[in-house]
C-alpha cells in the first residue's frame, strides 16, 4: 500500500468511525440513565432519515426537512417511552430490554408497510455531498462535518448533564430512581427528557448516515445500530467519551481489515467483533467504563 492510499484509508476510517461515534453517543446516553439498552435506537435513526426524506420529497428545503425529521423522531421516542417503557419502570430490566426489541420490530415492520422494502435514494444538498481533493486524497465534506457535529453534540450533552438543573436530575436518576422520587422530583418527566435527547441524537445520526450513504430502507438501522451498540460497549457503555472512542476504534478496524487483507474483507465484521471480545476479556467494563454500578457518564 503506497502512502497516499494509506492516508486515504485513514480518512476512510475517520469517516466511518465518526459515523459510529455519533450514533453510539445516543445509545450510551439512554443506557447511562435508565440502564436500558435501547434496541430501538437504530430504528429511531431510520425514522429520522425517512422523515427527512419524506419532507424533502414533498419539496421542503433541506434544513426544514432535517428539523422535521428530528421532531418526528423525538415524538416517536416520547411515544414509545410513554406507551412501552413507562408501564415497566418497576419491572425487571430484562422486560424492558425485550420491550425495546419489540419496539424495534414494530418500527421496522411499520415502515415496511408504509414505505415498502425497496431502498430509496436520499437526496442531500450539494454542499453536504461534495468531495474535496487534497492532492491525491479525496475527502468527502461529511468527514469534516460529522466530527464537528459529534464534538458539538458531545459538549452540549455534557453541558446539559453537568451545568443544568435537568442534567443534575438526570445524573441523580442514573444513581437511584426511588430516592430522586422521594426528593420530590418528577422522575418521569426527567426520563422523558432523556428520551427526547436520545431520539434527537438518533435522528441526527440517521440523517448523517443517509447523507453519507444515500440509500435508505426500513432495515437500515439494524446493522449500524448493532455496530454502534458494539462501539458503545467497547468504549464502556454509559460513558459518552467512551462511545466516541469506541466508534473510532470500530471504524478504523473495519477499514483497515479491508485495506490490509482485501481477501478477508468479507469477514471484517467478524474482526470488529473479535476485537470487541478481546477488549472485553481484559477490560470487562470497556475502555472508558468504570465499575458498572458506579460509572455514570
Amino acid at each position: 500500500m503506497d502512502f497516499s492510499t494509506f492516508l486515504q484509508q485513514i480518512v476512510n476510517g475517520a469517516s466511518l468511525g465518526s459515523m459510529y461515534a455519533l450514533i453510539a453517543i445516543g445509545y450510551t446516553m439512554v443506557y447511562g440513565v435508565l440502564r436500558l439498552i435501547n434496541f430501538a435506537h437504530g430504528d429511531i435513526m431510520m425514522v429520522g432519515a425517512f422523515m427527512t426524506y419524506l419532507a424533502t420529497s414533498m419539496g421542503m428545503p433541506f434544513g426544514i426537512a432535517v428539523l422535521f425529521g428530528i421532531l418526528v423522531s423525538v415524538a416517536v421516542g416520547i411515544l414509545t417511552d410513554k406507551v412501552a417503557y413507562k408501564p415497566l419502570r418497576d419491572a425487571p430490566k430484562i422486560s424492558l430490554l425485550i420491550t425495546a426489541i419489540g419496539i424495534s420490530f414494530l418500527l421496522e415492520n411499520l415502515f415496511n408497510v408504509l414505505f415498502g422494502g425497496v431502498p430509496r435514494a436520499f437526496d442531500a444538498p450539494e454542499y453536504l455531498t461534495k468531495v474535496l481533493h487534497l492532492g491525491e486524497i479525496y475527502l468527502p465534506v461529511t468527514v469534516i462535518i460529522i466530527p464537528i457535529v459529534t464534538v458539538f453534540i458531545l459538549t452540549s450533552v455534557l453541558w446539559v448533564l453537568y451545568r443544568t438543573k435537568y442534567g443534575m436530575a438526570i445524573r441523580a436518576l442514573a444513581f437511584d430512581i426511588p430516592t430522586v422520587k422521594l426528593m420530590g422530583a418528577n422522575a418521569d418527566s426527567i426520563i422523558t427528557i432523556v428520551f427526547i435527547l436520545g431520539s434527537a441524537l438518533a435522528a441526527v445520526g440517521g440523517i448523517f448516515y443517509a447523507i453519507s450513504y444515500p440509500s435508505i430502507d426500513p432495515l437500515m438501522g439494524v446493522i449500524v445500530g448493532l455496530k454502534a451498540f458494539a462501539a458503545a460497549v467497547l468504549g464502556g457503555i454509559g460513558s459518552v467519551t467512551g462511545a466516541v472512542i469506541g466508534g473510532f476504534i470500530l471504524g478504523f478496524t473495519e477499514i483497515f481489515v479491508v485495506a490490509l487483507f482485501p481477501e478477508l474483507g468479507g469477514y471484517k465484521d467478524a474482526f470488529a467483533f473479535f476485537f470487541l471480545i478481546l477488549v472485553l476479556l481484559f477490560r470487562p467494563t470497556g475502555i472508558m467504563g468504570e465499575d458498572l454500578e458506579r460509572s455514570r457518564f
Binding site: Q8, V118, I223, V258
Partner: protein
C-alpha cells in the same frame, strides 16, 4: 327420454364442476428487506402471467400463495415448510437470490415437491437435485459472457468485487475469473464486500491503487449503487460490468450520475422483445404498472408459465393436475417452451439453456446492447 339425457348431462356437468380442483402454487419471494426490489418486480410479472392464465385444460383453477421471506435464508426455508405443511401446495416457485433458493431446495426435495426458481443462477441450486428446476441460465454462462464482453472491448485487467455473503456472487465471481483468465485477461485483485454494507471506501481505495481497466461487480444492486457512487466520488473512473443482480431502477436512482456506463448481463430487455409472447407480456405490463418491464418479472412469468404447461401435459397424459411426480417430470423435460425471455430448454441438470442480453446504463435508462447465445 330427452329429459333423462338433459338430467344426465346436467349431472355430468355438475360432477365436472364439483371435480374442478384448485391447484396451489406456493411462491416465496423477498418482498421486503435489502433485496426487496427483486421480489417485488418478480411478483409484478407473476401477477400479469396469473391474470392472463389461471385455468388448466380440465377446468381446474390455479391459486397463488405468495409469502415474503425478507431476503433471509432461514425465513425462505421456513416459508417452504409452511407452504407444504399448512397450505398443501403442489409446486413451489422462487426464490431470486441463489443463497435463499439453496436453503429452500432441500426442503422441497425432501417433500418430493417440484420447485422452480425463476432467477437463481448459481449452479449449486439444482446440483444433485431431482425436484428443482430453473427458468434462467446459470452463472458459468453468465460469467463467461461478462468476461468475453470485457475482453472484446479491450479491458484486459480486472478487479473482481465479490459479495462474501451471497452464494450467487461467490459463484459468479469464480465463473468470471475462470473465463477471463482463459481469454487472456488478468485478475489484479479480488475485493470482498458484504451485502448490507454501506461503506465501501476501503475497497474503493484498494481498487484505485490496483488501477484495473475494468471492475467486475458480481453482487446485487444495493451495493452496486453505493459502490459505484463512492468509486466515482473518489476519482475512480474505470468502467463497471455486473450481471443480472444489478439491473434495477434503484441502481440509477441511488447511483445517480455515477451509475452511467454501468454494463451488465441480463435475461431480458423489453427493447429486444420480438416474440409474440414477449410483446403481449410487455404490453400488459405497461398497461398495468406504467413502467418498464424488467427481467425478474419476465422470468417469474416464464416460470409460472412452465408450471402451467407442465400441469397441462399431465392432464393430457391422463393424470391429475396436482400429481407432483408428473409435474416434476414434465418440468424437467421442458423443451422448446416459448417464454417471454426466449425459448427455454431444460438440460439434464434442470438448468435452462438460453440466451443472455447485455445492457448498459445510459441517461438513467437501461440500454440494450447485444444478445449472446449459449
Amino acid at each position: 327420454m330427452k329429459k333423462s339425457v338433459s338430467i344426465i348431462a346436467a349431472a355430468v356437468l355438475m360432477s365436472g364442476l364439483a371435480l374442478a380442483k384448485e391447484v396451489k402454487v406456493g411462491v416465496v419471494l423477498p418482498l421486503t428487506g435489502p433485496i426487496a426490489a427483486f421480489g417485488q418486480t418478480s411478483n409484478d410479472g407473476l401477477q400479469i402471467a396469473y391474470e392472463q392464465n389461471n385455468k388448466l385444460k380440465n377446468g381446474d383453477t390455479v391459486k397463488l400463495i405468495v409469502l415474503d421471506d425478507r431476503g433471509d435464508k432461514v425465513e425462505a426455508a421456513t416459508a417452504v415448510k409452511r407452504l407444504l405443511d399448512k397450505d398443501g401446495v403442489t409446486v413451489i416457485l422462487g426464490e431470486v437470490a441463489s443463497g435463499n433458493s439453496m436453503a429452500m431446495a432441500p426442503v422441497a426435495e425432501r417433500a418430493k415437491t417440484p420447485m422452480i426458481t425463476h432467477a437463481s443462477t448459481n449452479p449449486r441450486v439444482t446440483k444433485g437435485k431431482k425436484y428443482v428446476t430453473r427458468a434462467c441460465f446459470i452463472d458459468p454462462f453468465q460469467g463467461a459472457v461478462m468476461a468475453k464482453y470485457a475482453l472484446d472491448n479491450g479491458m484486459k485487467t480486472a478487479v473482481v468485487v465479490t459479495d462474501a455473503k451471497q452464494d450467487y456472487s461467490v459463484g459468479l465471481a469464480k465463473a468470471f475469473k475462470k473465463a477471463y483468465t482463459k481469454g487472456g485477461g488478468k485478475i489484479l485483485k479480488t475485493v470482498l464486500i458484504n451485502s448490507g454494507d454501506k461503506d465501501f471506501n476501503a475497497q474503493v481505495s484498494t481498487i484505485k491503487a490496483a488501477n484495473p481497466s475494468i471492475i467486475a461487480f458480481t453482487g446485487y444492486y444495493p451495493e452496486a449503487a453505493l459502490l459505484v457512487k463512492q468509486a466515482r466520488a473518489m476519482g475512480v473512473n474505470v468502467p463497471f460490468i455486473g450481471a443480472d443482480g444489478v439491473g434495477f431502477p434503484e441502481l440509477v436512482k441511488i447511483g445517480g450520475k455515477a451509475a452511467e456506463g454501468f454494463m451488465y448481463t441480463d435475461h431480458f430487455n423489453e427493447a429486444a422483445a420480438s416474440s409474440p409472447e414477449a410483446k403481449a407480456y410487455v404490453e400488459a405490463y405497461h398497461k398495468k404498472y406504467n413502467k418498464t418491464a424488467d427481467s425478474m418479472g419476465a422470468l417469474a412469468a416464464d416460470a409460472y408459465g412452465m408450471i402451467l404447461s407442465a400441469m397441462n401435459k399431465c392432464i393430457d397424459e391422463g393424470k391429475a393436475s396436482d400429481d407432483k411426480e408428473c409435474i416434476n417430470q414434465n418440468l424437467r423435460n421442458t423443451k422448446g417452451y416459448k417464454g417471454i425471455t426466449g425459448v427455454i430448454n431444460i438440460d439434464k441438470n434442470g438448468n435452462a439453456v438460453k440466451s443472455a442480453v447485455i445492457n448498459e446504463v445510459k441517461d438513467g435508462k437501461f440500454e440494450y446492447k447485444t444478445t449472446v447465445n449459449p
